[in-house]
């Protein structure tokens, strides 16, 4: 479902298109929109970092190395045919 608008756009005038008078809304202020977007981006980055820290905490309780596990799996994929040759 589409997100409900918090505020209506400001109507600054009207124009005629195909004989019909339609409202003209205010041109968005680019600097303000960019600031808002930056603020949202920083907020998302903070949330992502907070989530990463919590995941790291849980992973640090695990014995062993995740990197070694990944490399072990890769090596198994790389060299499976050698086992067949034995």
């Amino acid at each position: 479902m589409a997100e409900k608008r918090r505020s209506k756009p400001k109507i600054v005038g009207t124009m005629v298109v195909d004989g019909k008078e339609i409202p003209v809304v205010e041109w968005p202020e680019t600097r303000k929109a960019l600031r808002q977007w930056e603020k949202e981006r920083r907020k998302r980055a903070r949330e992502l970092e907070r989530e990463r820290r919590e995941i790291e905490k849980a992973f640090n309780k695990v014995e062993g190395s995740l990197l070694e596990e990944l490399l072990r799996m890769r090596d198994a994929m790389r060299w499976w045919w050698r086992d067949d040759e034995k």
């Binding site: 998302r44 980055a45 992502l48 970092e49 989530e51 990463r52 995941i55 790291e56 849980a58 992973f59 640090n60 309780k61 695990v62 014995e63 062993g64 190395s65 995740l66 990197l67 596990e69 990944l70 490399l71 799996m73 890769r74 090596d75 994929m77 790389r78």
Partner: protein
């Protein structure tokens, strides 16, 4: 038009797993992988990942679950986080050449298909491929004809020069 100062990079799954775990891992590699992670978040790089990157990371996490080291909930949470991270900072790419060509190239280079996908992506985007997998790095190091593809061992991050002797 303002030129974007960012450069393209490809991060190996072996580097990405170091973003969520410190204990039990090599401290130097973890420190450098975190440095790369912070630089990505700070907007220094555009990141391209091959389509099997998620499969590799998920496979390693899943093996922790099957070994009863990690709960399924934590594994799913970690994958959700990685997916969110890729949505925010990365682009997931399909193979850059046809599968016929891919198999020929892998055969010619002597690399596994998985590794070839990383190298081809780095070549295509003209970016640096960061890896914590010494086997890939050493194999690439032994092939001077492949040195046109930029590969960096994460332990050397952010240095990208080719050492005389690989680590």
């Amino acid at each position: 038009m303002i030129a974007d100062p960012r450069i393209w990079t490809v991060t190996d799954a072996s580097v990405s797993v170091l973003w969520v775990k410190v204990k039990g891992e090599d401290l130097l590699l973890t420190r450098k992988a975190r440095q790369l992670y912070r630089d990505i978040v700070a907007g220094k790089y555009w990141v391209a990942l091959p389509f099997h990157w998620r499969l590799e990371v998920a496979g390693a996490i899943r093996s922790f679950v099957s070994a009863r080291k990690l709960s399924r909930y934590e594994a799913q949470r970690a994958m959700r986080w990685l997916n969110e991270f890729t949505r925010s900072y990365c682009v997931i790419c399909e193979p850059t050449v046809s599968w016929d060509e891919l198999i020929s190239i892998a055969d010619e280079w002597g690399f596994h298909l998985y590794d070839t996908l990383y190298l081809l992506l780095a070549q295509r985007i003209d970016g640096i491929f960061w890896t914590a997998d010494l086997r890939i790095y050493r194999q690439w190091h032994q092939h001077p004809k492949l040195h046109g593809i930029k590969v960096g061992w994460i332990g050397y991050y952010p240095q990208t020069g080719i050492p005389l002797v690989p680590p």
